[in-house]
């Protein structure tokens, strides 16, 4: 019990979100409870993908209930108390240096500091005889013990990110893996490597890695660590390991076959979850389109305004009395244009990327639901086989037992991660829209000040002229 208690403490401090010597100690304690930093295709009980996990206090209760062996350290059970999870401590929205990120950490009741800081920057184009591609520089700063050093710098290309995502999905089929930016945008893409596209992608990749780092389970994934730290040759040789292409194909074929059977007995809570995901996906897609459209219209409005101001200057050249007033108007319009540019850049920094990320998240969620359903379908098919065939009963029973555990874990993992995701989503959406409102308020305030000062200057002039006339 004592050991449990200690470990429980370690876990309560937030899944491995500890810093400093104390942290290291705790981390190792946590590790003693079997917290492998993500399975990298290791041994697995049922011949399926391994399920590494972290263990927290209520999870321990779960363990008791499920009567799990202490050796079964590759089960993931999550703490359902979302407040213990580190959600707000890091906003992946700000692409800044790792050190400045410390200032953005929000402190819960217990000081809960990040110990893994990642930046993605410096896109570089590489040209070979076969192809041209872009690599991004990834800098990682960490104080974690399991990392050999405290600072790493590597270069990765989009393909590598795809690989990482696939490995994470493999390892944690029912966790909400953060989304990657799209491979390419078909509409309106002239050049694969135009600057805006690269910058947007860079920001999204930055967000992706930070979301993974934030995630209580994924952050300890071994592939993740290798992605962040391995140099070029080491990395490419590592990528070649793992279940081969054929086995992966085999898995996906089976998955499709299973999904064809339909979801028979999806538990009620997952039906509700599915319903939410469907509607959410619809709405967030619409919001994405609306937001993009607003940006486009604002851009075009700005372009026209930029032409509008100078005409007043042109006019002032033909006038004498009116010249000053016209020039003032031109300068006001110019100032409003600058304010609008600022608003638009704020938009493209905060609202647009967040909304788009959640569009991708909604696709991810649907995939997660599917995978969960598949796992359940596997169980269901075996149960069916048992009731109908009555052959190899013992083997089937054993298999069913393992599958039941698997389903249980998958469901619990999803449920917990779902809560975490929802909370994050709420915060992100709220802050993105609040930011949009603030940008608009600032814009209007700046324009208001500009025009009001114009007005006072004109009335002052008129009073001056009036008093001059009286003289």
């Amino acid at each position: 019990m004592g050991k449990l208690g200690e470990a429980g403490l370690a876990a309560t401090a937030g899944p491995a979100r500890t810093l400093g010597m104390e942290g290291e100690c705790r981390a190792s304690q946590a590790r003693s409870w079997g917290l492998p930093a993500g399975g990298a295709g290791g041994e697995s009980p049922g011949g399926d993908a391994p399920l590494p996990g972290s263990i927290s206090s209520s999870a321990l209760l779960q363990a008791e209930v499920l009567d799990l062996d202490e050796d079964e350290d590759d089960l993931e059970v999550f703490c359902k108390d979302a407040s213990l999870m580190d959600m707000n401590s890091f906003s992946p929205l700000m692409p800044t240096s790792p050190l400045s990120m410390i200032n953005q950490v929000k402190f819960e009741d217990e000081p809960d500091l990040k110990d893994l800081f990642i930046t993605v920057d410096e896109p570089e184009s590489h040209v070979t005889t076969i192809e041209t591609f872009i690599t991004y520089r990834i800098i990682t700063k960490t104080s974690r013990g399991e990392f050999d050093s405290s600072e790493f710098e590597v270069r990765r290309r989009y393909q590598d990110f795809l690989w990482l995502k696939e490995k994470l999905e493999e390892a944690h089929p029912t966790l909400v893996i953060p989304p990657l930016p799209e491979k390419f945008i078909v509409k309106g893409m002239v050049e694969r490597f135009n600057d805006d596209f690269i910058e947007t992608r860079r920001k999204a990749l930055h967000r992706f890695l930070n979301r993974v780092a934030d995630h209580p389970t994924l952050t300890f994934n071994e592939d993740f660590k290798i992605f962040l730290t391995a140099q070029a040759w080491e990395f490419s040789s590592h990528k070649k390991q793992g279940p081969g292409l054929l086995s992966r194909m085999g898995q996906s074929v089976r998955a499709v076959a299973l999904s064809m059977r339909g979801v028979k007995s999806r538990p009620k809570e997952f039906m509700e979850m599915n319903n939410f995901i469907e509607i959410f996906s619809q709405k967030i897609n619409l919001i994405d389109k609306i937001s993009q459209r607003i940006y486009k219209e604002e851009r075009e409005y700005l372009d026209e305004m930029k032409e509008y101001g100078p005409i007043h200057i042109l006019w002032s050249a033909s006038e004498d009395d009116l010249a000053d007033t016209l020039k003032s108007v031109a300068s006001c319009i110019d100032k409003c244009c600058k304010a609008s540019e600022k608003r638009m850049s704020g938009f493209s920094e905060a609202l647009l990327p967040v909304v788009h990320e959640y569009v991708l998240y909604s696709e991810m969620l649907m995939a997660v639901m599917k995978r969960r359903d598949q796992i359940q379908a596997e169980l269901d098919s075996k149960v069916e086989a048992l009731t109908s065939k009555k052959a190899d009963t013992d083997l089937l029973t054993e298999e069913i037992g393992k599958l039941e555990d698997k389903v249980e874990c998958a469901n619990n993992a999803l449920k917990a991660d779902w809560e975490r995701w929802k909370q994050n989503m709420q915060n992100d959406i709220k802050s993105a829209f609040t930011n949009m409102a603030e940008e608009n308020i600032l814009y209007y305030e700046q324009c208001l000040a500009t025009w009001e000062s114009f007005l006072t200057s004109q009335t002052d002039l008129r009073l001056e002229e009036a008093s001059e006339d009286k003289l």
Binding site: I294, E304, S318, A437, N440
Partner: protein, 450 residues
């Protein structure tokens, strides 16, 4: 639309009763004016005080517009809009107004009035009419003349035209203008009886003069350039303004979609639901606020348009000067040629080639009597020519003086009006910003409650 408190500039004085069929009548009365100063509002000099009307303040308004159908000159049915013009006289003491006249006119009658004024007052910058067809439209407005928004804006423009004429120190005294306001039937016939169409300068003559004139007054050359520049810059401004309005409309209206989607989304959210819903409502408010904003801006555009059309009126005065000047130059040339001819005949020297000279050489000299007769005739013509030249000279100088006086008046009016218009533009922007701040502050509050 009632006019506000009548101001001194808008006095309408009853026109003099002298017939105005003589094209120079306008000039004469103006000459009278000149001796007293350009902005004289009081009763004119002797030529004018046939009547002893006391100064009465008059309000003019174009208060209604109505669709009518009728038969046109070719007996085909047509639809047109008629406008109600109401004239009120204001009693000094209590400021109450009494309706004195009210009649309906259509746009073509306004055009007729203006064309008449252009002919009889060529030295005046005649106020322009609002546009015949909607131009510089952005997508919301239709270019249809029957569109209610267009009709409304035209009604205001026509009223503005009448007020401008009524407040012009010279034009306001014109009888035809007075009859336009007071005599519904028969007015068209009365105007046509003046025969003004015949007295109008032909376009060809004017073009010819523009090319051939040698010494126009420098100020008019500058004025012509200015009017060209003004026209070009205001057209450009109006075009871009229309595009800006279009874009702004788009920005605001798309936000309305947020309202709908937020509302639908709020149905599945427990904690975020209320915040989303109320924020959505504010997005709707934002989207619909643009309609009023752009309607106000349309009035600003109309103010600019008036001066766009004024540029043409300025050019008309310049053209008249060129014509007058060219006429003068031609007369002087003719006179000089005749004088030379006469001299040659008298002295017997032939300095220039002439047919007479040739025939004389070929067929012998004419008799002294014949020569004397010719000299006498030429001397008569020269005397006549000198008289004509003198009066044309005077005419020309008078024209320049009076035209320039009106141009100065116009310049002041223009500077004042356009400054006011620019200030009103700023006021509109301020109002738009304040509305924006309010809506987004409300929205932000809703978001923060999510």
């Amino acid at each position: 639309m009632e006019q506000a408190a009548p101001d001194p500039e808008r006095l309408l004085q009853p026109a003099p009763l002298e017939p105005l069929s003589h094209p120079d009548a306008g000039l004469e009365s103006m000459v009278g004016e000149e001796t007293k100063g350009a902005r004289d509002e009081g009763p004119g000099d002797g030529t004018m005080t046939e009547n002893n009307f006391s100064l009465k303040k008059i309000e003019i308004s174009v208060s209604e517009a109505e669709k009518r159908t009728g038969r046109n000159a070719m007996n085909m049915q047509e639809t047109y809009t008629a406008y109600l013009i109401e004239t009120r006289s204001v009693e000094h003491s209590d400021g109450q107004s009494v309706l004195t006249d009210s009649l309906w006119r259509r746009y073509s009658e306004f055009e007729l009035l203006r064309n008449y004024l252009l002919v009889y007052y060529p030295h005046i910058v005649v106020p322009p009419l609002p546009e015949k067809r909607a131009e510089f439209v952005w997508h919301k407005l239709s270019a249809d003349n029957m569109d209610p928004d267009f009709v409304e804006r035209r009604r205001i423009g026509l009223e503005n035209f009448l007020l401008r004429v009524a407040s012009h120190p010279i034009l306001c005294r014109d009888k035809i203008f007075y009859l336009f306001l007071t005599q519904e039937g028969n007015w068209k016939e009365t105007v046509n009886e003046t025969g003004f169409q015949l007295k109008a300068d032909s376009r060809l003559k004017a073009l010819n003069a523009t090319f051939r004139v040698k010494n126009p007054d420098k100020r008019f050359i500058e004025l012509k350039h200015y009017s060209d520049e003004l026209q070009s810059v205001i057209s450009h401004l109006l075009r871009v303004r229309a595009r800006v309005a279009d874009r702004l409309y788009g920005v605001y209206k798309v936000h309305g979609n947020y309202g709908r989607v937020f509302s639908e989304w709020s149905a599945i959210e427990k904690e975020m639901g209320d915040g989303l819903q109320s924020a959505g409502h504010h997005m709707d408010v934002y989207a619909s606020s643009i309609d009023d904003i752009l309607e106000d801006e349309e009035h600003y555009a109309d103010q600019l348009k008036e001066y766009l059309f004024y540029a043409e009126a300025l050019r008309a005065v310049c053209r008249k000067h060129e014509l007058t000047q060219y006429d003068l130059e031609t007369a002087a040339q003719d006179l000089a040629a005749k004088k030379q001819q006469c001299e040659e005949l008298a002295t017997g020297t032939v300095r220039t080639f002439s047919l007479k000279g040739m025939t004389t050489k070929l067929f012998g000299q004419e008799t002294p009597e014949q020569r004397e007769a010719r000299i006498k005739m030429l001397e008569e013509q020269i005397k006549e020519g000198e008289q004509q030249l003198k009066s044309k000279n005077l005419e020309g100088r008078e024209f320049v003086k009076n035209a320039w006086a009106d141009i100065e008046r116009f310049k002041e009016q223009k500077n004042h009006d356009l400054k006011e218009a620019l200030i009103s533009y700023a006021v509109m922007q301020i109002s738009m910003c304040k509305k924006g701040i309010q809506v987004w502050t409300n929205a932000k509050e809703c978001f923060s409650k999510m």
